[in-house]
């Protein structure tokens, strides 16, 4: 599995396409509804899934562990929403921590971790 993280609009999808031969059709983008196409070659918007998890009381790390065999060769994309100041509002704080924990777990399992900054790739792992 290859993990791409970075801020909003930093070129994460473009990098998935240029570097991991992902096509637009291969990308499933998570919304805040808990739906995940685990068979997709590339799953994006993990931060949205994390927000759904917080609202539904689901542990995002456990959710991913349950489907491990399906994403272990995928490209996963998440916004690094966990770098800002501590947000006001309990839900936003829980969301930020859930997304941070999920990315930490996925990083530990990833073959490569790339962070995008202004369109430039920084290999973290």
């Amino acid at each position: 599995m290859d993990l791409i993280i970075g801020g909003a609009y930093q070129g994460k999808r473009a990098y998935a396409k240029s570097h991991f031969s992902v096509r637009e059709d291969d990308i499933f983008t998570c919304r805040e509804d808990g739906k995940v196409d685990w068979s997709a070659r590339c799953i994006a918007g993990l931060e949205n899934l994390a927000l759904w998890c917080v609202r539904e009381g689901v542990d995002p790390v456990e959710l991913f562990k349950k489907h491990e065999s399906q994403w272990e060769n995928s490209v996963l994309i998440s916004e690094d929403i966990f770098c800002g100041v501590v947000p006001l509002g309990a839900e936003n704080r829980a969301w930020r921590e859930a997304a941070g924990r999920l990315c930490g777990y996925l990083s530990s399992r990833a073959d490569s971790v790339t962070r995008m900054f202004c369109g430039l790739a920084q290999r973290l792992k």
């Binding site: 930093q10 929403i81 800002g84 947000p87 900054f117 369109g119 430039l120």
Partner: protein, 181 residues
């Protein structure tokens, strides 16, 4: 040489940019292209702080809240430019008439064209932007569009510049190219 610098607030971007511009300029002319148009006392205090910061460094200040590429015509030949900041430039380009009107949808495109012209034609240019893309907040459409537009400018500059630096609490990460002080 062209350098793009971004990072969080108060991470040391402006002062690093000044040092790099001074070094790149050597004995040549150097200009501080100030893009912020102060609207209130808080803004004016920030301007005074920045002016004090660069006092004695030998910059001539060009106040260009819009149409940043005009710095090329206003400067002496062989000049070095420090454009601070991309963030303020975009905001001003979005509101060409007054801050209460509707945002100009071509602001990002116009900003990119102007900044890339400076990057192409100046002997040296250093650009400062703000990294505002990594927090757990759902923004309103206005703010979200602004973030998307600023990111498009950042990516264009990062692609065009020789060196790209990220500042984090005064620490420098080199994303592209080389640099030295």
């Amino acid at each position: 040489m062209t350098v793009f610098i971004s990072g969080g607030v108060k991470s040391g971007k402006s002062s690093l940019a000044q040092k790099i511009a001074v070094r790149l300029a050597g004995p040549g002319p150097k200009y501080y292209v100030a893009t912020m148009i102060p609207y209130d006392e808080e803004d004016r205090a920030r301007v005074r702080r920045h002016i004090a910061d660069r006092a004695g460094l030998g910059f001539e200040t060009l106040e260009l809240g819009r149409g940043v590429e005009r710095c090329l015509d206003l400067a002496a030949p062989g000049a070095t430019f420090l454009v601070d900041s991309v963030t303020a430039l975009l905001l001003n380009e979005m509101y060409p008439e007054n801050p209460a009107g509707d945002a100009d949808k071509n602001a990002a495109r116009r900003s990119i064209d102007g900044l890339l012209k400076v990057a192409r034609e100046a002997k040296n240019a250093v650009f400062v932007s703000d990294y505002i893309y990594s927090d757990a907040i759902r923004y309103d459409d206005f703010t979200e569009n602004y973030r998307a537009d600023l990111a498009s400018i950042d990516r264009a500059l990062a692609a065009a510049c020789d060196t790209v630096l990220e500042l984090c609490a005064g620490n420098i990460y080199v994303h592209k190219g080389e640099w030295e002080l």
